[in-house]
């Protein structure tokens, strides 16, 4: 491999890591909901893309700047999060391990169908910020739109971590995930915490959806399934329930994805990510930050 190839490789990995913040946010969303409900919400990534689509509605009415569109995506994500809880969880028997899995798969398909029917399946342009900016650092070029996505993702994660580790709401959320019965008997309303968790993760998902749209430059109904898979992979590699794990895994998966794409082409790259997932499931099923567990 000569020097130019090496530079290109590093460049593509760096781009991937920047975009990986999107995966990290999706992973955090899956992990947070699993924390309080002990259930997987399979509709999360679809709802995130749905929120990004919903934010385009404002553009059809007025000519809004990209920042407003992003804020709309966050707000729509929050609303969708609340709706997902009401439809997919509140009235579903939680004792049945498969019931919410089915209800959230249903929601995933429903959201996809709504998107396909309202847009006729045609991809829509999504506004990006700083897309004309390119920062040269030595032989490398940092894309402005990816930098923005990265910074936004980092801000989002910081706020989320502060919320979870420094505020009483966040502590209540973590208390519920550690000891649901005891937290009720310490005066924490579980229902309220659940709804808030869905709304907050929905906001995070909406931002992740907008970031995806901004980085790719468009939205397509074909995005929701791959993002669901990536989000779940990140969650497993990071360790179900671990937020630091989801962050690291998101960046790693983003970087490796681009690395494999650079080496072997776009049609093969997901194969290697799946192999990575397989390796984790076999050798480290608890994720990055847990002690490797032996088999019984």
């Amino acid at each position: 491999m000569d020097l130019l190839d090496l530079i290109d490789t590093i460049q593509s990995i760096a781009d991937g890591v920047l975009f990986g913040t999107t995966y990290a946010l999706l992973g955090i969303g899956f992990t947070l909901i699993f924390g309080v409900m002990h259930k997987i919400n399979l509709s999360f990534a679809a709802a995130s893309i749905g929120a990004a689509y919903a934010s385009l509605l404002i553009l059809s009415a007025v000519k809004a700047p990209a920042v407003v569109v992003f804020l709309m995506a966050a707000a729509a994500g929050g609303v969708l999060g609340g709706l997902v809880y009401l439809v997919g969880f509140k009235f579903i028997p939680l004792a049945n391990p498969l019931a919410t899995l089915m209800s959230t798969v249903g929601l995933l398909l429903l959201i996809d169908e709504i998107i396909v029917h309202t847009t006729a399946g045609v991809p829509l342009n999504y506004p990006a910020l700083f897309s004309d900016v390119i920062v040269p650092i030595g032989p490398f070029n940092l894309r402005g739109d990816l930098m923005f996505v990265f910074v936004l993702g980092c801000v989002c994660m910081t706020v989320l971590l502060l919320l979870l580790y420094r505020t009483k709401l966040g502590l209540a959320t973590r208390a519920v995930s550690q000891q649901p019965t005891a937290s009720q008997l310490c005066g924490i309303g579980i229902m309220r915490v659940n709804i808030l968790t869905f709304v907050i993760t929905g906001v995070v998902g909406g931002i992740a959806g907008a970031m995806t749209g901004a980085a790719i430059g468009m939205l397509s109904p074909l995005l929701s399934l791959p993002l669901t898979v990536k989000g779940l992979i990140v969650t497993v590699i990071g360790g179900l329930g671990s937020i630091p794990g989801a962050i690291v895994a998101g960046l790693v998966v983003g970087g490796l994805e681009n690395f494999f794409q650079f080496l072997r082409g776009v049609s093969e790259r997901d194969l290697y990510i799946m192999l990575l997932l397989f390796a984790f499931l076999v050798f480290r099923p608890g994720g990055i930050f847990t002690v490797a567990a032996g088999r019984d």
Partner: protein, 254 residues
């Protein structure tokens, strides 16, 4: 203190399938009283505590708190009204610090009314002072930033006790607080329960450790097979032949 009734159980009944865990129990706890609730294993003591704090629905009967019917209220609402508890098997928030365990449990009606921002961000001055007092009272000040899951057993028991007081309860339900404690710790527990009563907390104490119950309780109620079989002062209960039969395992033929 007066004779106001803090807690009244009327015909409290809970059936699990065909098992009559609690079967028509009437019980009254007066304000400022320490009531001991004893009985052999499986006699329904813990179920009664679970029913009072609303963990599962009643089969029949009513729970009155301060004269108001709370039978249908969810658990966290009962905490806001002033009923808190400890657990027989410790259930702390292991991944939160000692301080955070207390902060997150400050959920009385009054505490909920405090200003929004300080309440969510680090706690108001008053709330923090309250936690400091509690840490001192339970000798946990030096552990305030330690994760609750890393504490020694005795410290965990004390923290759970403190957490139950964080929401300023009017009625505290202690579910076997002396389990696994040594003689010295039980002595400290005894004096803490008395001090709490001086501060106006009414206590319902479930305990197998007879010495503690006999020493600290004003009145004792005895359960067997989900029914109340005796009630009275320590000496009256001790000399009651029905109680002796229940504990020694002979059938009373009742």
């Amino acid at each position: 203190m007066g004779n106001a009734k803090v807690l009244e159980l009327h015909g409290l009944t809970k059936h699990f399938g065909g098992v009559r865990a609690v079967d028509g129990v009437d019980l009254t706890v007066a304000s400022g009283e320490i009531l001991g609730l004893i009985g052999p294993n499986g006699s329904g003591k813990s179920t009664i505590v679970n029913l009072i704090c609303g963990l599962f629905p009643l089969t029949a009967g009513r729970v009155l708190f301060g004269g108001a019917d709370i039978s249908e209220l969810p658990p966290h609402t009962r905490v806001a009204l002033g009923i808190t508890r400890t657990f027989q098997n410790i259930r702390l928030f292991g991944q939160l610090t000692v301080w955070q365990n207390l902060w997150v449990a400050q959920n009385s009606g009054e505490q909920r009314k405090q200003n929004f921002l300080p309440r969510w961000l680090g706690g108001s001055k008053g709330a923090r002072a309250e936690i400091d007092r509690m840490l001192e009272f339970f000798d946990l000040g030096h552990k305030r930033d330690e994760l609750a899951g890393n504490l020694a057993f005795g410290e965990q028991r004390r923290l759970e006790f403190a957490r139950a007081l964080a929401a300023r309860p009017a009625l505290l339900l202690l579910d076997e607080p002396a389990a696994g404690m040594n003689a010295e710790e039980i002595e400290q527990l005894d004096s803490r329960i008395r001090k709490m009563r001086q501060n106006g907390v009414t206590v319902l104490l479930i305990e197998h450790h007879m010495e503690l119950v006999m020493s600290v309780a004003d009145r004792i109620a005895v359960l067997n097979f989900g029914q109340k079989i005796a009630e009275g002062t320590a000496s009256a209960v001790q000399s009651n032949p029905v109680v002796r039969d229940a504990y020694l395992g002979t059938t009373t033929g009742a």
